[in-house]
Symmetry: C2
Subunit: 386 residues, 2 copies
């Protein structure tokens, strides 16, 4: 007895099929499937189905989505930016409500799983984390949410943060965050001792924001790769942004790419608009996993973003000069399978036995959907239509 039958779907490979669902998973995929009279049938009308999207990097505690528009305030330094952010966040609804509004928005675009960084520092304590955990609980049946305890203000330069990080992991964050070990904290080894020590002790994953460019950033990446390998944390460590990878080329790039691949360190990019970022194809050639995330969405850091991972895939392709179908499909994979693997999730696949989470939209092929993301979506999560 199947729960639901979706008819007239087009798979990414172009086959026209029906999709039958049982217990939230694909029970059969093929042409002309039959349903019991009692089975609910949904006609997808020839729409293309894509796996549900995975956002590898979002900040659920920062966004103003659902709030009145907050004009961006320029800041001359990171300290000024953090102060401006605190002032703006004090004017809007509590974190749990804003996180809820953002999750609702991204869910409507077709995101089914995400990794959210959440600020923890000595003054914020665990308040953001607990608020986002409240929103996560509300969305438990609809969205897989993994949380990163993110020391936005630094670890060593913000005394007490190491203890808060430990408490955050104890309380339910799955990932230890870090930020610019040298550029922010001025002590790479000290910073990484805290991050890797905590992850190793607690069995947590790691995701480090690295904005440092050029040779300095490459040096940090080598340190992160070396520690990952030494502790056997392969496939459990990611570096977000890693702008330095966009600043170098030739032997330097090949060297760090080999080290990252060998250690199993993944790289997250959102394809920033006005600065260099990691060369995706070159990294992939070396075996480095590169995945996508939206990063900030309409918050104190910048005004852009709507949370749509298909638009993010478009921006990644646009910024990377991806024109060919396989390149466009690769950008989409960064927002589906690659992100899922980076998060340690079952990859979202349109195959019998896999979770029936998918997005149906009007496009001829996955490449077409990435090149010009259609607005209208039918979103299905574990067999349920949303």
């Amino acid at each position: 007895m199947i729960d639901r039958l979706f008819t007239n779907a087009v798979l990414p490979d172009g086959r026209s099929v029906d999709l039958s669902i049982r217990d939230g998973r694909f029970a059969a995929i093929g042409p002309d499937l039959s349903a019991d009279a009692a089975t609910e049938t949904v006609d997808l009308g020839g729409k293309l189905v894509l796996p549900g999207f995975v956002d590898g990097h979002i900040h659920l505690d920062k966004s103003f989505v659902g709030e009145p528009w907050q004009p961006h305030r320029p800041a001359a330094s990171l300290r000024e930016r953090l102060a401006a952010e605190k002032a703006l966040l004090a004017k809007v609804r509590p974190t749990a409500q804003r996180a809820d509004a953002l999750i609702a928005q991204v869910a409507a675009f077709g995101t089914v799983a995400m990794r959210s960084h959440v600020d923890v520092d000595a003054t914020t304590g665990l308040s953001h984390l607990h608020a986002v955990m409240e929103a996560r609980e509300k969305w438990r049946d609809r969205m897989d949410i993994e949380l990163v305890a993110f020391p936005q203000a630094g670890i060593l330069t913000c005394p007490g943060t190491a203890d808060i990080l430990e408490a955050a992991i104890a309380d339910g964050a799955e990932v230890v965050g870090g930020i610019d070990p040298e550029g922010m904290d001025g002590d790479s080894d000290g910073h990484l001792d805290v991050v890797f020590g905590l992850a190793d002790r607690r069995g947590a994953k790691i995701d480090i924001h690295l904005h440092e460019g050029g040779a300095g950033g490459i040096a940090q990446l080598h340190r992160i790769a070396a520690r990952t390998k030494a502790l056997g944390l392969g496939e459990r460590v990611a570096v977000s942004h890693a702008y330095a990878l966009g600043d170098v080329d030739g032997a330097v790039l090949d060297g760090i790419a080999r080290a990252l691949a060998d250690a199993g360190v993944a790289i997250m990019t959102n394809a920033p608009g006005d600065r260099a970022f990691p060369p995706i194809l070159r990294l992939r050639e070396h075996g480095v996993r590169v995945f996508a995330g939206n990063d900030n969405i309409r918050d104190a850091w910048w005004p852009y973003g709507n949370g749509d991972m298909l638009q993010r895939a478009m921006l990644i392709g646009y910024r990377s000069g991806f024109y060919r179908d396989e390149e466009l499909a690769g950008a989409l994979a960064m927002a589906t399978e690659e992100a899922a693997r980076a998060l340690g999730l079952e990859p979202p696949r349109l195959e019998v036995g896999m979770a029936a989470s998918f997005v149906a939209l009007e496009a001829d092929t996955p490449a077409a959907a990435v090149a010009a993301p259609p607005a209208d979506r039918v979103v299905v999560h574990r067999g349920r239509v949303f």
Copy 2:
């Protein structure tokens, strides 16, 4: 007697107003306007209204919009690209039908006027131009379309093209196009002699594609500015792309910016994804008009684009690092007032007496609309709802 009354609109400055329309123009804008019983009333429900969008650079004859997806074919040279384009265009519907499909798509996003380049060369002759003119005629009441006779394959290197350009202007194209006078034709003076000579003789405008980077491109811009000034063609000459402006800085940039401003040469950019492009704010500071266009939309040149000028404004802001409200509004102005002025059109303004062409959408402010363009639009052109 007014034709139509739109209630509950929010103007870009935040005022809540009604908009009454007579003969396709704003008859009154203010709170609580009253209507005759017979007047059609449309409740905009608090939506933000923006002026209708103007696309300063589109290629109506090239697009595959409305056709089955055509995978991008890599090409090693411009000649290869042109051959691939001809092969692909031979497989799809005739130019007039494809132009029609693209106009319909961009009209639905809120574009009310555009400048379309149309290929003319010795082998194509005027066939593309006549086809696009056929589509233009069909859309006469809905879209202001200006046509550029565009020598895509060069002028001097494609013998016979100069005569075809002349015939195109005689047949109804308003603008003489050009392309890379030195990089393509290898004879800057020879190329510009044809373009400026024809424009001067026929009273036509000029819009030159300039992809040449660095010092070579800057030299071409100086030549174009000098000829514009010498012929008194200020405000009637534009250079599209002008990538070289993104390659230089300091005194070189200041020098060419002053020359362009002094001559009245406007610059069009689509904010390409993976290469340097003109620094918009720096050019504006010098008084250079900078306007926006979509350029290619899903064609043999690249797979991206949906024709939405609001998304184009977002991409321009994203690529330019525009975060503040006034910067985001400036990106929008490039797709409205600045583009209109570059095309010599009445600027689209939400003022009594102006054409009642506007777009209503769910956003708090123009900056918010640019930062994350909403998909749902109410499009009104000369008072009619589409």
